[in-house]
Symmetry: C2
Subunit: 110 residues, 2 copies
């Protein structure tokens, strides 16, 4: 994870439709969801959703896998982990004190 990558991830999640899609995929878990199912559940047009899925995918936050006619999307927890780890490491690298309590509270599930 580097700055452009983190930027892409934050930018991807900083949009209502995309954050909603990502949350849905995380909560859905390993089974993932077909694009059409996402569109139905969130009441989005397929083409608009497709654009958002592409942005989330290129940010490394979700992954796609074709299954027959449909394309199934999965949350990439590794992407989220990388983003958080980068914030903790890179941002706090010069100031570990600020991050110690942050780490503690996160591990206590805040």
């Amino acid at each position: 994870m580097d700055m452009p990558n983190a930027l892409a991830a934050f930018d991807a999640l900083g949009q209502p439709s995309r954050l909603t899609v990502f949350r849905l995929l995380v909560q859905t878990g390993g089974a993932g969801l077909a694009a059409g199912d996402i569109a139905t559940r969130l009441d989005m047009k397929p083409n608009t959703l497709s654009t958002h899925l592409g942005i989330l995918e290129s940010a490394g936050l979700i992954a796609a896998q074709r299954q027959g006619r449909s394309i199934r999307y999965f949350a990439q927890m590794e992407g989220l982990r990388g983003l958080m780890a980068w914030m903790l490491q890179d941002c706090c690298g010069g100031n570990p004190d600020a991050c110690a309590p942050l780490l503690d509270m996160i591990t206590q599930k805040g």
Copy 2:
């Protein structure tokens, strides 16, 4: 932390200038920096910077404190912590399995 709040935070950090400012403030730590110092260090126009500072502040990621003529800005680690905790809790609430490894790796500092 709720969805609109998280959205504001992600949106605030998903912009190059703002992510740079935030990183600078986190790395600077408790002393904080005056707006003018930030502008000088990052070579930004004062008015443009002011807008970005306002967005970061309203997202709860930084705080301001007037000191004489200048206004000193500080990273709000609590805001960052809240954002991360929300992602872990709210997103993963319906799917704790996905978050367990994520938590583990974060606490190992990735």
